[in-house]
Symmetry: C2
């Protein structure tokens, strides 16, 4: 019901800039993933697992997709020795996906190559970064 008619040019420009940031972020993420012979989906899943093991079902929730889809992505990562399936001692229905040593190394290296929004941010002064942080926080607040 809000969504003012005829948004002002300033707002339009900011929306456009955000679109550019999104596009740029994606490009860099995909290319960083490709640099490790991973697809975007594989990279996202592996990053999650580098923090902690997760049941397939939780992975699906985090990735906002169906569990049947996660099966395939984990299959492919498992075939490359980056991830393992382990039984959950507490519930024999669930399988924990856990990153292998190699998987964690790849995930770490991936993070390191994600320089976007680290380099560009270097061009901003501290007060500017604070202002940016606050603006982003407020944009995300109203969900």
């Amino acid at each position: 019901m809000p969504t003012p008619r005829t948004p002002d040019p300033l707002t339009l420009e900011v929306v456009d800039l955000i679109g550019s940031v999104v596009a740029r972020y994606h490009e860099e993420y995909e290319s960083a993933a490709a640099g490790h012979a991973l697809t975007g989906a594989q990279a996202r899943l592996l990053s999650l697992l580098s923090l902690e093991p997760l049941p397939m079902r939780r992975l699906a929730q985090r990735l906002k997709c169906e569990p049947s889809n996660v099966t395939g992505i984990v299959d492919r990562l498992e075939a490359r020795g980056l991830v393992e399936r382990r039984p959950d001692p507490a519930d024999r229905r669930v399988k924990l996906a856990v990153a292998t040593e190699e998987g964690r190394r790849v995930a770490r290296s991936l993070q390191d190559s994600l320089r976007f929004a680290r380099e560009p941010l270097a061009g901003l002064s501290e007060p500017e970064r604070i202002a940016l942080r606050d603006a982003l926080r407020r944009m995300l607040a109203e969900s």
Copy 2:
């Protein structure tokens, strides 16, 4: 070669917030597209065509993918009457993809439902929006 070791917590938080904005933007874009029975790729292509007809090759460049991929996406949009292929009078090799009347209507409706970064922006004052714009501009400047 820059990429300072041990980035400060403020920078890390901003990077994280940008990640959230990107995720949110994508969710909303995909769901707006799905609301019109379009996939994300179809929606992006149709949006481009709603501005001007484009040769297949240009579409591939804009979408950053291979021309052979564009063929399929245009095929599916054409099957639904949202896009047409027209010969380019100036060069008989090229085919112009042009949005039909219906296609332009769908594209317009899609834009309207893309309220992200319009609603959230409403929470920011004008000086804040200007600061945000400048920060984004500078982030994108150094490519």
